[in-house]
Symmetry: C2
Subunit: 139 residues, 2 copies
């Protein structure tokens, strides 16, 4: 497997609106679209485009959100994960598992509408790593 | 100021060599060049290229390294900062300061040979943010 595009850096925040205000003030940038709920991942999501990649702002969606604990430790928010693209999500999952990495659950629909999975940070140098099947042109 | 290219994601590690082994095993990728010391920032550095951006692996250089505390909290390593490019580092510094963001010290030479500064994570949604004058073609 090759190292694919850095699709985005996932940034957890207690408030997408507040984070967008920071990006607006500091960088004069507006989000790519309105925030939307992603129930499969337990987060509310909004993207901010850099010329070559994206920042994915994620806010907890419900009390069982997987980022609640992260925000307890990091009340202001912070870098939560990085996401790399792969051409085939199932081949990537098999490849990571064959190499002994812990894949967290089955592939699920991610924020760009394609299948994603996460790899345990303990197997990735402390970095929670999302693997995403490359989105089509529409994304 | 516009949001510039995401030049890299900075990943702190207790061992660049060990991290490179992870990238080699999991993604079949070799570093862009050999690790090198960056005394001005108190880190040893090595870059891994994704097609559109980079991962900057940083290891403490000396006991006074600014990432020693980060690694005490995150012994395996983890995401340390994000770095965006700007066309003019001094204009960017003045702009951040005019907006009330805390710029951490004067611009210094960064890992790509151009001037950089960091903005306090408390002013950037918990994300330690490096601002880098866009490197030339050689970088």
């Amino acid at each position: 497997m090759k190292l694919g595009r850095l699709n985005h850096v996932g940034v957890a925040t207690p408030s997408i609106e507040k984070s967008l205000e920071t990006y607006r003030t500091m960088f004069g940038v507006e989000p790519r679209g309105a925030p939307f709920d992603l129930p499969a991942q337990g987060v509310r999501v909004c993207f901010v485009d850099a010329p070559n990649s994206q920042i994915e702002l994620i806010e907890p969606l419900g009390e069982a959100s997987p980022i609640v604990k992260f925000l307890e430790k990091n009340p202001l928010g912070g870098q939560h994960h990085v996401c790399f693209e792969v051409p085939d999500i199932h081949a990537a999952k098999a490849d990571f598992e064959a190499k002994g990495a812990r894949v967290l659950g089955e592939p699920r629909i991610g924020a760009h509408g394609t299948l994603v999975f996460f790899v345990h940070p303990k197997d990735m140098g402390g970095v929670l790593t999302e693997i995403m099947e490359t989105p089509g042109e529409a994304h």
